[in-house]
């Protein structure tokens, strides 16, 4: 059953109640826009240190402690999430960049991030960047499956002419050819919205109206003819992609509104920033000439702003986005807090701005990193690769404000009890299961409805692994 028919049937039979996004997607399968839900996958590239964010640890006692942390001295339990709260010398723990406070993790999880579901003790089963990036994006360490964001967009794009269904600016963007990859076109968008005109507003186009119309008609006939003749896989694959991509046409006009939008005023965010970070985040990026700059928080949010506006305009279904700087083999404390600070500020921006744009109840945000960092410092005051990490998730129907999974004092995994995932058991206890990226992806596929996509059979998650009811 294709998606369009499924939607019709669901509407008639009451099956729509089973769909997590309820009514919005049933508006009209023929429209060229998408009303939600949306998926944003944010990735901290290089391997973050979750012990500085949502799985807080302090240095263990003893001469050879199993875990070392020079910058966190106390942890606060925020709804079951262990969040670093106190830094060296007893001061409040803040994430800083060049000594400027950018984020306050406790404030985040108590306020803007109070709906965030935290998975701690996720075993990535790898210390390898590429494999970690892949595993967290697609749910499989060994087979390069399409990214979850691509699968979701591909499912929607089967029946809707969404022009930039999958907006790819992350590290892992494999599609399995279920959807095309799009990148935001910047200043070119006005030209592309009407490609047979030389420039917007010109009275005479490059072609006559008859010519433009006939070319598009003939092009469709030609594509059908070529597809009928195609016998080899590369032809079939690239022709199918071209056919799908050619459907969007007029919807590109919607991108204009995205490109032309002014940045939001900083005033609309001030009250939701952590008090200790307000002065810095509201300061101008160009103090010598403020008119040429913007508030730092707005500046940090730029890449996210474009994505959210594409969602709001209905021209995109999902997006990947990544920020680097987390591979802190040297000077870990300085470099990791800087990367984590800007990253968390961007997550804060995402959630606040989604609220302003009316997307908050339609937006899934998946937050991952390649893996974690070693419990101990290396000789360069850095921390190396560690296969234990954390994942954050927020979205409609996701019960947040809690943590699933734990690690021990040395940041080693505890297993989730198979009978009750809210509980953990020692790693040696076979009544438990180590939490892997595949478990989270299996659940997300279910929640997003991707597991019902007709193409999903081509992309199975690892077999021989128990499903864990992580999302209820």
């Amino acid at each position: 059953m294709d998606r369009r028919n499924f939607l019709k049937l669901a509407g008639l039979s009451g099956l729509s109640l089973m769909l997590p996004w309820g009514v919005s997607s049933q508006a009209s399968a023929d429209q060229a826009t998408w009303g939600g839900p949306y998926l944003l996958h944010m990735h901290a590239g290089g391997g973050w240190d979750p012990t500085l964010l949502c799985d807080g640890k302090t240095t263990e006692p003893g001469t050879t402690p199993s875990y070392e942390n020079k910058i966190v001295t106390a942890i606060e339990n925020v709804n079951g999430i262990p969040v670093p709260s106190q830094g060296a010398g007893g001061a409040k723990f803040l994430l800083t960049t060049q000594n400027n406070p950018v984020e306050d993790p406790v404030h985040f999880f108590q306020n803007v991030g109070r709906d965030v579901l935290v998975f701690n003790g996720v075993d990535t089963e790898t210390n390898n960047h590429d494999v970690g990036v892949q595993a967290l994006a697609c749910g499989h360490n060994n087979i390069e499956l399409p990214a979850l964001a691509a699968l979701f967009a591909g499912q929607v794009a089967r029946d809707r002419q969404v022009p930039m269904a999958f907006l790819a600016s992350g590290y892992y963007n494999r599609t399995g050819d279920v959807v095309g990859i799009s990148r935001f076109p910047g200043s070119k968008i006005e030209l592309l919205a009407d490609p047979f005109k030389g420039a917007p507003g010109e009275e005479t186009g490059l072609l006559t109206d008859v010519g433009s119309r006939r070319i598009l008609e003939l092009r469709n006939q030609r594509l059908q003819s070529l597809e009928a003749q195609a016998t080899l896989p590369r032809n079939k694959r690239t022709l199918a992609a071209l056919r799908d991509a050619s459907k969007s046409g007029d919807a590109l006009n919607l991108l204009k509104s995205v490109a032309q939008g002014a940045p939001p005023p900083i005033d609309s965010f001030v009250n939701d920033l952590a008090p200790d970070t307000r002065a810095y985040l509201t300061s101008n990026t160009n103090p010598a000439n403020p008119a040429q700059g913007v508030a730092r928080f707005i500046d940090l949010g730029r890449p996210i702003e474009t994505i959210l506006r594409c969602f709001q305009a209905g021209v995109s279904v999902s997006a990947t986005w990544a920020q680097g700087g987390f591979d802190t083999h040297a000077q870990h404390d300085t470099n990791q807090t800087a990367a984590l600070g800007t990253f968390l500020a961007r997550l804060r921006y995402t959630l606040l701005r989604a609220q302003q744009l009316g997307l908050r109840d339609k937006l899934y945000v998946l937050v991952t990193s390649d893996f974690g960092r070693t419990p101990k410092y290396n000789t360069g005051n850095g921390k190396d690769h560690w296969n234990v990490t954390s994942v954050l998730l927020v979205g409609p129907g996701i019960r947040g404000g809690r943590a699933i999974g734990k690690t021990d004092e040395g940041h080693k995994v505890l297993r989730l009890s198979k009978s009750n995932v809210a509980e953990t058991v020692p790693d040696a206890d076979t009544r438990g299961a180590r939490l892997h990226a595949s478990h989270i992806h299996r659940e997300l596929r279910r929640v997003l409805g991707v597991d019902r996509a007709p193409f999903i059979g081509q992309f199975p998650l690892p077999s021989g692994e128990d499903a864990l009811p992580l999302l209820g």
Partner: protein, 815 residues
């Protein structure tokens, strides 16, 4: 092929494997899994290598691979029998050799290899196969065949069962892809024969635009064009005037050109090697630098040209090792720095930066990937549990979980010893290396201590001796020319066409081994490697059995052109690049006399929108169309079509690229005096227009179609519909519909003549083209060479529509 003596392992096996795959297959007995009736050239032929891959490795020995591959339990416990995962380059040869060697050991006349899997002779893994299982029978037969020298080879071309482009069609495609031009008819005719074809393709690799492509291909691999500021010269401290704005000699232009120079250095090195017919191995062994005057100044080396913009493209080989001049603690110090092709260029060293804890492993990873066909990230994929290693001292050396990769990567990383891990290009031969890593070396050889002062040169010298170098260079060039990644071994055994997929992988893998070995045997002649790729089914296959997708993975025309290639194809076929504003601009870093401008190359935003890379944030090209790319191809195509159509009509018929069978006055119907009159066809006009459309199908799309075909009829209907619409509107508007409305489509400049560069009224230097002569009398017939801004026959705009239709077609944007 019946082996008559001895067993080959290691390097010899690589070469042997390549030779087995030669075009002339030796007479074969019934080989492994072979059919007595299946000759070496029949589609049902199953080679020993394919049988190994699909049946032995893919099935019978799956249980063995879990422990006997690098880092596995058996490997850790010192088992003599060793297997290689599919991520090991040419794992087929390595495994067959390993099995062949091990099969010589026997117990009571039975090979140990057939005893141990049954759980006998203290097999550490216990019983993994049952004696009556199909898997055991497969293994038994394979071992017996190897022991008795029964090995089957097959002709890969026949195995794929595809129809290919003719030599002439291939020549057309090759000229566009390789040299960015449309081949002349006489060239195509000459290339229709085997000998002429090779000669033609090799000649294409000597054309100027081939070197642009070459740099693009290798930058896709090495990504050094991300950019490096001239300030890196501070390491050498020879030319502060190029980066220090307080220096009296500093100019912004010099800094920009020095920045471009130091960024381009690795790709210019590669270009220099190929342009001068040097062995491609110089790319990693060359103990010289390739420098223009700016790079030479940064290094403190002499150059025979002055440091001026006009000399930017004077890339010369300089034999002297660069001499690094530094001031430390107030004392001057002259230090010789080793040179090993691109590996020691600042752009490479900075693009693949290191840290005191990374210890040049990133550089080693890139060396392995691009020069040794080894993706270390996929080398031993399996669960890694760091938490189990906390009691292991120095796990990268002492834990099999880590050392499986580190023992490969760490010795190569050691080749970069001496390069500072904080100031990336500063070199000190006395720098210590890391005691906690395996010592510098390559494969099983250790770097001799006397080479520690120039370990990277020793490393560079080893690389081209390894057969993986040939495979690796072949794979990089394959990616660039064919547009696909090499196939990977299929993982999902449940797919119905799994065996076909294994076969496709095996055939391609064997082909890489073959062309890689030939490339090395031909003294690393890259041109011959290019020819081998162009001749292969991966470049030429055009149709096949539609039910054989598994076997035909990666085959077929329809590779999405990169933005750079699309730009060149516009020019190759129409005479013009795509540009929004300027057809050319002075740019010393690209051409001595300015360069014709393809915005799909020069404008990063266009390049990225069309799926290109920036070598930093975006490093992988998009290989299928997105909606934005469709719109981009329509915008760029429409703009090129409108300009090129008008301009082509300003030329005498014999000089035209596009309209060789029609004139500007060739109308399908007689132009009417009033709208009520009937349309009267012009005798022979339709035939001429169709003939021209037929030619455009060949020129733009590489399709040989009949003038009466459905395809031509569609395009003809477009021509007529647009023509009728224009004529009707002109009549309705009392003759006011004859102008070419959009100024971009007016032919005003003589694009084919080289531009002059002159300052405009604001002082900006602009390209100035000769103007076409004015058409003063609009009532007089149009003559070639005149400005073309009127279209009184309605044919120019009708042809613009047809050309737009064709150059936005799938077969134009894909090759």
């Amino acid at each position: 092929m019946r082996r008559t003596s001895g067993f080959l392992t290691g390097r010899g096996a690589w070469i042997a494997a390549a030779l087995f795959l030669g075009p002339v297959a030796a007479a074969a007995s019934a080989g492994c899994g072979g059919d007595d009736e299946a000759g070496p050239s029949g589609p049902s032929c199953v080679s020993t290598r394919e049988y190994f891959t699909s049946q032995v490795y893919g099935r019978a020995m799956q249980a063995c691979a879990g422990c006997h591959t690098a880092g596995g339990l058996a490997d850790q416990q010192g088992a003599k029998f060793r297997m290689y995962r599919e991520t090991y380059p040419d794992f087929v040869t390595a495994n067959i050799d390993s099995i062949r060697d091990y099969a010589q050991l026997q117990v009571r006349d039975t090979p140990l290899l057939l005893v141990k899997p049954l759980g006998e002779r203290q097999h550490g893994g216990g019983r993994v196969l049952a004696k009556d299982s199909e898997e055991y029978k497969i293994l038994s037969k394979f071992v017996a065949d190897l022991r008795e020298g029964r090995e089957q080879t097959c002709d890969a071309g026949d195995q794929l069962q595809v129809q290919s482009l003719t030599l002439k069609e291939t020549a057309r495609k090759a000229s566009i892809v390789l040299a960015g031009r449309f081949a002349k008819e006489e060239e195509l005719e000459a290339a229709a024969g085997e000998e002429g074809f090779d000669k033609f393709v090799l000649a294409l690799t000597r054309e100027e635009l081939f070197y642009d492509l070459l740099r693009e291909i290798w930058n896709d691999a090495l990504l050094t064009e991300r950019g490096l500021d001239a300030g890196v010269g501070g390491t050498f401290d020879n030319a502060p005037e190029l980066y220090d704005d307080k220096n009296p000699g500093y100019t912004t232009e010099n800094r920009q050109l020095a920045t471009a120079s130091i960024t381009q250095e690795p790709m210019r090195f590669i270009e220099y090697v190929v342009r001068n017919d040097l062995p491609f191995s110089d790319v990693v062994t060359g103990n010289y630098v390739v420098a223009n005057p700016y790079v030479a100044r940064i290094y403190g080396l002499p150059h025979d040209q002055p440091m001026t913009p006009q000399s930017f493209l004077e890339w010369k080989r300089i034999e002297l090792s660069p001499v690094q001049y530094t001031t430390q603690n107030g004392a001057s110090k002259m230090t010789a720095m080793p040179t090993a092709g691109v590996l020691t260029t600042p752009a490479f060293l900075n693009r693949w930066e290191t840290t005191p804890t990374n210890k040049s492993r990133k550089r080693a990873r890139i060396v392995l990937k691009n020069f040794l066909a080894t993706d270390i990230f996929k080398f031993a994929q399996r669960p890694v549990d760091s938490t189990a290693l906390t009691s292991v001292q120095n796990p990268t050396s002492n834990s099999a979980m880590c050392s499986v990769c580190h023992k490969v990567i760490d010795p190569i990383a050691g080749g970069f010893r001496g390069f500072n891990e904080n100031q990336l290009t500063r070199f000190d031969p006395a720098d210590k290396w890391h005691d906690d890593m395996l010592p510098p070396g390559f494969n099983t050889a250790l770097t001799p201590p006397e080479s520690y002062g120039n370990a990277v040169m020793w490393l560079g010298a080893q690389i081209p001796r390894d057969p993986r170098f040939g495979v690796s260079v072949a794979q990089v060039m394959f990616r660039g020319l064919v547009g696909d990644e090499p196939l990977t071994f299929p993982q999902d055994k449940t797919t119905p066409d799994y065996e076909d997929r294994v076969r496709a992988f095996t055939l391609q893998n064997d082909w890489f081994v073959k062309v890689g070995a030939e490339f090395m045997a031909a003294k690393y002649d890259l041109r011959k490697l290019v020819l081998a790729i162009v001749r292969s089914p991966y470049f030429r296959a055009k149709s096949g059995d539609t039910t054989k997708d598994g076997l035909h993975q990666g085959l077929g025309q329809g590779r999405l052109l990169t933005p750079e290639m699309l730009g060149r194809k516009y020019r190759a076929t129409t005479g013009l690049y795509f540009f929004q504003y300027e057809a050319a601009r002075p740019d010393a870093a690209r051409a001595r006399d300015g360069f014709l401008r393809s915005d799909l190359v020069s404008d990063a935003e266009w390049r990225l929108v069309y799926g290109g890379i920036d070598s930093g944030d975006v490093t992988k090209r998009t290989d299928t169309m997105s909606p934005l790319m469709v719109a981009t191809s329509q915008y760029t195509g429409a703009l090129v079509a409108c300009r090129a159509t008008s301009y082509d009509f300003t030329k005498p018929k014999g000089d035209r690229r596009l309209f060789r069978y029609v004139d500007i006055t060739t109308t399908p119907f007689t132009i009417r005096a009033n709208a009520g009159a009937a349309l009267v066809p012009v005798p022979d006009a339709e035939a001429k227009i169709r003939e021209n459309i037929k030619y455009l199908f060949w020129r733009f799309l590489g399709e040989n179609v009949e003038a009466s075909s459905e395809e031509v009829t569609r395009a003809y209907s477009l021509f007529v519909d647009v023509w009728k619409d224009l004529e009707e509107k002109d009549l309705a508007g009392n003759g006011n519909g004859k102008g070419i409305g959009n100024y971009r489509c007016v032919a005003d400049s003589d694009w084919d003549k080289a531009p002059r560069f002159e300052p405009d009224q604001n002082g900006y230097v602009r390209a100035v083209y000769d103007k076409l002569r004015p058409r003063t009398d609009n009532k007089a017939p149009y003559e070639p060479g005149m400005r073309l801004d009127r279209d009184e026959n309605f044919t120019v705009r009708a042809w613009q529509a047809v050309v737009t239709y064709l150059i936005t077609d799938y077969r134009f944007t894909h090759e």
